[in-house]
Amino acid sequence: MYQDYLGEVKKLLHGKDYKVVGKNVIRVDAIEKVTGRAKYTTDFIIENALIVRAVRSPYPHALIKKINKKPAFKIPGVVAVIIGDDIPGENQCGYYLDDQPLIATDKVRYIGDIVALVVAKDKESAWAGADAVEVKYEELPAVFDPKEALKGDFKIHNRKSPGDVKVIKGDVEQAFKECDVIVENIYKPGSQDHAYLETEAAIAIPEAQDGILVISTNQGPFRTRNAVARVLGKPQSQVRVITPYIGGGFGGKDTYGPIISSLAAVAAEITRQPAVIVHTRYDSFVYHFKRCPFEIRFKSGATKDGKLKAIEVDYLCDCGGYAAHVIGLLKRAAYHSTGVYEIPNCNVQGIAVYTNNLPVAAFNGFGNPQMLFAVESQMDLLAEKLNLDPVEFRLKNALVPGSRTGTNQLLDHSVGIKELISKVAKKADWVKKRSKQKRWQSETKKRGIGIGCSWHGCGTTGFKHDWAGASVILNPDGSVTYSTGIVEIGQGTITSHAMMVAETLGIPYEWVKVELNDTSRMPDSGETHAQRGAFIGGTAAVDAALKLRKKLNKLASEILKCDEDEITIEDGIAYSLNDASKKISFNDLVREMYQRGISPAEYGFIKARRGYPDPDTGQGDPYAAYTFGCTIAEVEIDIETGEVNVLRLYPGVAAGKILQPDVVRGQINGCAMLGLGYSLTEVVERENGKMVNPSFTDYLIPTIMDKPEIAEFISVEDEYKYSGYGAKGVGEIAFIATPLAVANAVYDAIGVRFYDLPISAEKVYFALKRK
């Protein structure tokens, strides 16, 4: 069932070097994106489409007593007002749990909870109509602190927590007795906005046979389709979701894509007219779900020879009014709570708690940035107590092939972290720069250097399915039509798919055309998240291409009258390795397929090779493979103003085969900037759970002027044999390591440790003043 794709591909290529994979080909979407021709969701808005505007709750927690639609109809352009009871199917849009109505009917649970939709002929009427709808609320006591929510008498749902997680291994109590150093702290990494360039939007268009077409900003076309089908009460076949290019996702559109699509679809279904909903930047900031804030108590211990013995972790996730994405990220954080180290004794317990804050979304790292911030701060604190260099201490404990993780997963291969740490440290000139003696400083400025290590399981966490499809059609002229269930959210995945298809078929990369993502031509392929785009989706592409390649080899051997094993296909020519004069062009070969009635199309489908950890102990194999990251940061701190200036970042990944170096560099540099924002400037300020700094003036993502020097990334190609070309994922790993490295570097510079993020100038200033 699980194929050794790497071995199969290598056999097919007769051990020759790759022609396409690993090369800096031009991204399939590059030209149209830089020339502005690429189309995004709102470019598909059709003339006369109705405009949908949501009526949202001004209260964080209240009963809905009465909704009066009538006043809205006094606005001339208003066509329909839709409340929860009007929804044709099931009024439910929860991501993992069925706890979230699409349109609230009995109560609202956060500021912004949707209570009605106004559908109108133009924007002005839609807004005026939304203002006119009368909603009578009865306010309920609201709670914004998860600890208070857990203790106090608040009833947001019929239970306080949507879920919890445990990882229990060894004997933690005994192990701590044997530790020579123990460090225990509380960490509070906060929220973060995805701040993508393109805000959330959806278009729904009634189609033939009562079907409905949705074009939307989403990272999960199939989940979106299923969500829409559910609220419309239609079979999944009646809903088609097209996902054009996406202007940034980072997880936010994984969570909010199905929701915004369902809103447009309900409006289109009820009016049987095309309907559009587009979030303004304000809407996006205030209403789309964000990174989950954590509160983590982390205790870790080691023996004096520098060996980690035990961790005891308990943490709270403030999930806001609905569970949304919290169940998954809660589990992921627990399964990675050992960091990239072998720790024999673990007692990790996490719980998510409902509050009246804005709910939480998937966001790059998915719980890991929060957990690993604690892990890597602890590592530096332990190293200091042990009088060990942080790099040396990490190397002593890093996972190696044969290691077992906190969930007791055996890592039999593809574990490059140890080599990665050494290489990054060498590149950054760690030993010299870490030495305090020769370090440059001035009256007003101090410098420091810090390291952060990360890991991230590729594919979804082991409590839900993880599969994907792909299709390859060979056209009579030899060109190739490729379709995938994976979405191009800017990350470059579809380019790597096209490369793998081309390499596997033995043709130039340019011959492969990647189609727009359309759920009607692909089996469910899951979401584009969890570093699974190339890892799972790309392997499905290889699966499909391999099936065709085998057919092509067989056919070529028949035509060229030689053994099948002799055949190779390179640059669009099939020939015999024993006699190069025996050859046939790829197009002739394909035409012959058609002539002989051999199907020139294949689907690929794969399922991740992993298990489902035991819910009581967290023991099991939650991920098929892990990508590792290591970043070293150099900072300079202005001790008079508190400004943290990140001078240089040295990123590195052990992500298996690097399919396209430029794409990976783009991912890593982008991740570094996202990480800088989380480290230094990004704060979601809230009042009554509502974001109160909803603009780019006050929500401070780093600009290009804030970009430090980012060194060329180090890559340890620890190939994973069950994926196409041995690739793992890279989309999240480099982000996770950045804040950890920056926080540790800040400590190295000024001797002040921050237990929450971001480390703003003002915070540093006051911390230094207290010191």
């Binding site: 924007k123 603009s695 401070l700 780093p702 600009t703 002027m705 804030d706 100038a761 200033y765």
Partner: protein, 293 residues
């Protein structure tokens, strides 16, 4: 704290092509007027319903309001001059480099392509980056109503956060900046490097003779309801020896005269006061260093 962004409200719109047409128009209109220059503040404020003008007078087509000229010993700048045009102007760079330096990193490039110098002053943000250098340079502004024209020193122009002495039927037509030879320094502290609103900004113009401060003019943004001239520092430093001690003393005064609004977001009162001290010190040190080599 932050208002919702909504579709623009309805308004009447006029677009005069000359100052003469503008005067005629102003005579007819009764109030509720907003002038549209770059629109980078006005349109946002309208979408937030902070400003709901009945009438918008678009002054972008009035050619007479867009110029940069040197007349005798003053630089005259038309109010609708875009910030990027000012930055690129060799007249400004050569004669009043302090202004160039201060607005070079104001907002972002696309915003500077739209936003105007007159708009930046009339918006009267306590943290407007163009204000401290112009205050330090003793600039004044020309206000024109249908029947009158007057020149107001910039130091008397601002009266409160987002408030100026300009009346509703007056239009700011030009900014007049005296040219003087001396040293300049501008520093701003934002919460990030690019596209950042200043938390605190300090601009200074100074002449040093021998080892004494002969003349120092210094202005601060972000530390009071309006951008302010720090006359106390100027008086204290006049004729005083350039030294770490005198600069430190000046910096302390900067802190003591800072009275940031408690409601101001983006930074605490205590931090703003402390940064007024740090930036003042650094600005004066830069001038001392430049002048003495």
């Amino acid at each position: 704290m932050e208002e919702e962004i909504r579709p623009l409200p309805k308004f009447d719109y006029f677009s005069p092509h000359s100052l003469h047409d503008l005067s005629t128009l102003l005579k007819q209109l009764k109030g509720g007027i907003s002038f549209l220059a770059g629109g980078t503040d006005l349109l946002v404020n309208m979408k937030k319903r902070i400003t709901i003008p009945k009438v918008i007078i678009d002054i972008n087509r009035i050619q007479e309001l867009s110029f940069i000229e040197k007349r005798s010993n003053n630089i005259h700048v038309g109010s609708v001059t875009r910030l990027n045009n000012l930055i690129e102007s060799s007249i400004v760079q050569e004669n009043v480099p302090l202004l160039t330096e201060a607005i070079r990193f104001l907002a972002s490039h696309p915003i500077r392509n739209r936003a105007t110098i007159g708009g930046n002053l009339c918006t009267a943000s306590p943290a407007a980056d163009a204000a401290p250098p112009l205050l330090a340079l003793n600039a004044s502004v020309k206000l024109k109503s249908p029947d009158d024209e007057k020149i107001v020193p910039l130091s008397e122009f601002f009266v409160g956060p987002r408030q100026t002495v300009r009346k509703h039927n007056e239009v700011l037509t030009e900014i007049i900046i005296p040219c003087e030879k001396g040293s300049n320094a501008f520093m701003k502290l934002g919460r990030r490097r690019g596209f950042s609103l200043s938390v605190v900004s300090v601009a200074a113009f100074g002449i040093i003779k021998g080892d004494k401060f002969e003349d120092i003019r210094i202005a601060l943004g972000g530390v009071a309801p309006t951008p302010i001239r720090a006359y106390k520092i100027e008086e204290m430093l006049k004729g005083v020896e350039v030294s770490d001690r005198s600069i430190e003393k000046a910096a302390e005064i900067a802190k003591s005269i800072s009275k940031p609004s408690k409601r101001a977001k983006r930074a605490s009162v205590e931090y703003r006061e402390a940064m007024a001290r740090v930036l003042t010190k650094r600005v004066l040190m830069k001038i001392a260093f430049e002048e003495r080599g």
